[in-house]
Symmetry: C2
Subunit: 361 residues, 2 copies
């Protein structure tokens, strides 16, 4: 089957090997249809079963009830930065945004491009986004409160979501959705590009509480209205079938192989602890995020001797450990430990890091 490396890519990222093998095995003949999954009609029973099963699994994994709708939309989280305020923020109201880094900033910028009223109620920019703001005062008239659940670039993550009272939370969960159980109760909408924890690039999962749909204005373009997707089972037009199919298989793997999000979280904590414990003991490496706010998904670190970082990344790749370069906007190193990255991969990485430190430290 060719070589397989340990993949620490920040997204697109590793997918579970059993899922990849299942796709490969049935790629020319999907369940006896005589067609590839890429060739069947989205109106066929084959694909209806795929999308409906994916929706049921999302609801079961997230523990959300009938008051939530599961949508599959194209355009990535970047399009959601616009769709959220277009759909949920009337021109005469204001939304509260928390700025924890690049992705939050982009969400704020897109709301502003639409000439919507946005308040940045908290920011961790004063310390290079290395922490998550605490004790935030939200405005009681906010249409919603927007946060970014996990910052892939700076390696921070909300360990507990803020208490917004009755204000609906809206969150970008692109890089940590399904990495741990969550209580959706206070959320009006969550969105996540699939390409980190859920599947390949090309589809965005949106889960929206039904009452939020009442806010959607009639005069938006059809493809930019959440109500179009809720009314048409995400198939007003041809959906990104292959991406949704892979998401369905990943959700099935999460439920039936991993055993659900509590078990997934346990594994993810174990993986993250393995690296963080090593970083905390070392003077050679240094984690960049505050301990209490660091991410289970993206471990960002520097080498004390920064000139060694490029060598580190190159030697790692030569040892079949890929994707360890930090985001180009901040440099350094980063190991993304999404759901599909197995414990053995992290063990191999820590073993390499130990050896590298021994040789260069």
């Amino acid at each position: 089957m060719g070589k397989r490396i340990h993949n620490f890519n920040p997204g697109p990222a590793a997918l579970p090997l059993p899922v990849l093998e299942e796709i490969q095995g049935e790629f020319l003949d999907y369940k006896g249809s005589g067609m590839s999954i890429t060739e069947v009609s989205h109106r066929s029973a084959w694909f209806e079963e795929v999308i409906n099963d994916a929706k049921v699994r999302v609801k079961r994994l997230l523990g959300c009830g009938e008051d939530y709708e599961v949508l599959f939309i194209q355009g990535g989280a970047s399009l959601q930065f616009s769709m959220v305020p277009m759909n949920l923020l009337p021109d005469d109201q204001v939304a509260d945004y928390v700025n924890t880094g690049s992705w939050s900033a982009k969400a704020i910028k897109e709301a502003q491009i639409l000439a919507k009223k946005v308040r940045v109620v908290a920011s961790s920019e004063d310390r290079d986004f290395t922490y998550i703001p605490k004790n935030i005062d939200f405005n009681e008239d906010a249409a919603y409160v927007h946060i970014t659940s996990n910052n892939t670039i700076r390696g921070t993550q909300w360990s507990r979501y803020p208490d917004t009272g009755t204000l609906p939370l809206v969150s970008d969960l692109s890089s940590d959705i399904m990495g741990r159980p969550m209580d959706l109760t206070s959320f009006g909408l969550i969105y996540a590009g699939a390409q980190k924890n859920l599947g390949p690039a090309g589809v965005t999962l949106v889960v929206i509480r039904r009452d939020m749909l009442d806010r959607v204005p009639d005069n938006l373009p059809t493809m930019l209205r959440y109500t179009t997707f809720s009314a048409k089972n995400s198939m007003f037009n041809t959906p990104p079938c292959f991406a949704i199919y892979v998401v369905q298989l990943v959700l099935k793997w999460l439920e039936e192989t991993v055993g659900g999000l509590a078990k997934m979280e346990k594994i993810n904590k174990e993986k993250a602890a393995l690296i963080y414990n090593y970083l905390d003991k070392s003077d050679f490496y240094r984690g960049t995020a505050d301990k209490e706010d660091r991410s289970m998904m993206n471990v960002t670190f520097r080498l004390a001797e920064q000139s060694l970082e490029q060598i580190f990344v190159e030697e790692a790749l030569a040892n079949d450990l890929g994707g360890l370069k930090g985001h180009r906007s901040v440099g350094g190193c980063r190991a993304s430990l999404y759901n599909a990255t197995v414990l053995e991969a992290v063990e191999a990485l820590v073993s390499f890091m130990t050896d590298f430190e021994r040789r260069y430290g």
Copy 2:
């Protein structure tokens, strides 16, 4: 490899078997990367090569020069119905639209939702969209002229594009792009959902003449501006990598196996002639579109005895001929003969039709 049927689906549709086999073969280890194509970074050399090669092949196949940009966008043609007027039609100008059926009507509707000024300068609605309007007077102040190159539902196709003088043509080519050579000179923009002639669902090809980019307003959401895609090589955010990869392989197949669009057109004409000649001889079947305007891509027909149509579709499927049901809005039968549908499939279909007529006629 399992069973393979003859696939006449209207979209998602048949893909070339050698392309499917290539995808399957390298699915766990893309070109020695040790990762699936779904797992490599869109910023990696592997994917850069994919998208850049796809762009070069689009330009070579369409014979367009340096004054055109090739973009890959999500959201399908349905999102282009909005993006075209958003980007290219200033509020104080008017655009001319030709209405040749459902897809044209949707394009017109989306422009109107944006409160843009639209003139429907010609329509074939008077005869159920069974023909293409001729001798149209376009307005010399039109910002652009919008047409739908091929109507999948009614089985009509522009055999020659209208002469719009210096007015830029904008066309939805979702269902016939790359089915024949075309002269792009008079086009300001063309767009095509990939899922018929180019690849899987989940990516839309847009080819835009550079001067059209000057019209793009600054205050559009980032993901809805053509300039975002032209400036960032279609990778402002994570693109639909897998869909673009399949498109690249289909384009490669078109160039290297088929031998280019002139050869593709020859094959497509041969396929279409096989069915149309049979329909024209038969009193049992009846083509629905005017002869001079009928589509090479979608052959729409009725049975004289319409109560037999369901039996026809079911028996065809039992004979491994799939996807022959007409669009749910018009009923009847339809054989979609996109590029990947081989001549042998059409021969098998005509043979089945002959046999069916013998048994039920």
